[in-house]
Amino acid sequence: MHTFIYNGSFEGWLTAVFEIYEYNINEEVVIVKDAIYQPSLLTQEHIVTPDDTKAKRVWNGLKQKLSPRALETLYHSFLSEDKGIENQMLQYARLVFSNKLTIEHNFSNSAILKITQTAQKVRRERHRMTAFVRFQLTSDGLYYALVEPDFNVLPLIIKHFKDRYADQRWLIYDNYRKYGIYYNLQTVEIVEIAFTESNASSGAILYDEKEALYQQLWQQYFSSVNIKARKNTKLHIQHMPVRYWKYLTEKRDFM
């Protein structure tokens, strides 16, 4: 058995796939993130150093046989960070390379269906993040928001927010993965400053003088549009799971 240990980046995973083919390994292989790898005597270890050229070759190889949509699907499933998804993806890639025609719609194959459904899950989270981000305006004109998405979807929402809020500086910080995306009116950059709730509550962040007011107006609006005669808590929770409430202006007081 062989274990390929990589750094958790998509480039690293592509490099691992390249090396598995390079060494022509046909026995059992697993790809595993270095952060969760536990050494074992029963396996032969390979440390993968991410390599741009190798990664590109695998990516281009996949590109030749997959539609843009399917390529995207593969990448999205990677962002799920699900345990073992690297190996499902490897199976998927192997199917791609060993078939003449595209296999992306062969949903009776379990690896293909798994990748498709995992990507779907990630896209649902991406959509939720476009909905559930709540910006707060600071006194120096920055709109900032904290989130804790189930999957690593910030890279997928950059374009959405950049297109939409082109004329305001904003920062969306993933408080779970400890990084954020920041738009400076020109471009979006990845930032890793510590920007957490604790410095928000300790007064390290100064808000715009009208911020509290608009939050209150929004809460008022949210409660006014509810029709009591139609109460349906199950549906409410289904659409707005409680785990998101923490950062939702209109729901955080109900926690």
Partner: protein
């Protein structure tokens, strides 16, 4: 001053909430001027405790109204607090909510004060300010006020993404009974006018992109359900008319929420007909996406939708001679008609079966409601074991296995509390 705004917001949001439309999709306005906002597939930013999507800031400009429609909470004779926003207040609320990612845009409606044109002018002014002064590209839904001049409709269509007039009641008689001051024709006129000009602009835009966008998300309308005695057949035929003849993008059904002690209406405390509303939406989807016609769903012999099963299943049970269908062979049109198989699953099956014959396991994993579909399909060599069952037997089995939140409503016994 801020307390006054908060109070106004609560009054005018409360009065607007019976308009069920909250769609923010169907438009495609790009943020090309480095301004604020864009539109796309629509996003629900929140959900109320009754489970409805909150996508737009949905408010009335004012709830002062010269009309006295019995079903409406803002009717002249109703003793409620009245309020009115200024144009600037609505603009500020919209922009500030939008910048914080609370909403996709604005849905602005209004009670009629002084006359139709005066009211419509104010609505248009809000939209114009947002688009021109604030370079706002988010979604704007304006209510068309019946009786407003064509000139104002033109302007509204230039600034708004969607326009709507609510027909309120499914038939003219009901409207006459409950809203004696309103005429159905007054509602149909602006609809027709806008339908024609939207079509004309659409044609023009094909030849020149310089023609400005014109109500890109089209029109919608709404009917109140359960306040008057119409059958589902009458309601669905009306929807059919709106979809076919008026090119409506959506027809909404609003289960009547009792707001009045008027003896022409269900009394206060009567439950909202949620189940019926749900069945109507299911039927509406069948009409729009599944290729069904109205008379396949309801007919003069059976003018009401089944309460205990959905309309697609009901149709299949009436047409058992078409089943079972072979999922590995049937064309897409028929696949979509199988109870338990939706559009997405049908497409997946259609794509996947080119690689291999699909069996039960595959179908379950693809995500069809197998326990429902199994009575209507065959796959591979495994033949359908349920062929001998009658429609009644299948229905019994399905109803008994289902757990529906509406179940208490199926009981024929009247509940007192």
């Amino acid at each position: 001053m801020w307390e006054r705004i908060t109070e106004k917001l609560s009054i005018l949001a409360d009065a607007a909430k019976y308009d069920v439309s909250c769609a923010s999709s169907g438009s495609n306005r790009k943020n090309s001027n480095k301004g604020l906002g864009n539109t796309g597939n629509g996003i629900c930013h929140a959900y109320t405790e009754d489970g409805r999507c909150v996508s737009l800031l949905k408010i009335l400009l004012t709830n002062h109204c010269i009309y006295d429609c019995a079903y409406c909470v803002s009717r002249k004779s109703n003793d409620v607090k009245r309020a009115a926003f200024t144009v600037q207040e609505v603009v500020d609320l919209t922009i500030n909510f939008y910048r914080r990612n609370y909403i996709e845009g604005l849905f602005l409606s209004s009670g009629i004060f002084s006359n139709a044109d005066y009211t419509m002018e104010r609505l248009v002014l809000v939209a114009k300010k947002l688009r021109t002064e604030h370079r706002f590209n988010g979604y704007i839904h304006l209510k068309t006020i019946p009786g407003a001049s064509n000139d104002l409709l033109e302007q509204a269509a230039l600034y708004a993404d969607r326009l709507s007039v609510n027909v309120e009641m499914p038939t003219e008689q009901s409207l006459k009974l409950l809203a004696p001051d309103k005429k159905r024709q007054d509602m149909l006129n602006p609809m027709t006018y806008l339908k024609n000009s939207i079509q004309a602009r659409h044609e023009e835009r094909k030849t020149s992109k310089k023609v400005p966008v014109y109500a890109p998300a089209g029109q919608s309308t709404q009917m109140v359900i359960g306040a008057t005695p119409e059958t589902d057949l009458q309601i669905l035929l009306m929807s059919h008319f709106f979809y076919q003849k008026m090119q409506m993008r959506r027809v909404y059904y609003s289960g009547y929420v009792p707001v009045s002690n008027d003896n022409r209406l269900p009394s206060i405390g009567t439950p909202v007909p949620l189940l019926r509303e749900n069945r109507l939406y299911q039927a509406d989807w069948l009409l729009r996406f599944y290729g069904f016609t109205v008379n396949e769903i309801v007919s003069p012999h059976q003018p009401l939708l089944d309460a205990d099963i959905d309309p697609k299943l009901a149709w299949a049970l009436r047409n058992l001679h078409l089943f079972p269908v072979d999922v590995n062979k049937a064309d897409l049109f028929l696949l979509k008609r199988v109870p338990g198989i939706g559009i997405q699953s049908a497409n997946k099956i259609y794509a996947a079966r080119k690689y291999a014959l699909l069996n039960e396991q595959h179908l379950v994993k693809i995500g069809i409601a197998y326990n429902k579909a199994k009575y209507f399909i065959t796959h591979g060599v495994n033949n359908n074991n349920y062929k001998e069952l009658t429609a009644m037997q299948i229905k019994d089995r399905l109803v008994n296995q289902a757990v529906s939140k509406y179940k208490p409503n199926f009981s024929p016994q009247m509940k007192l509390f």
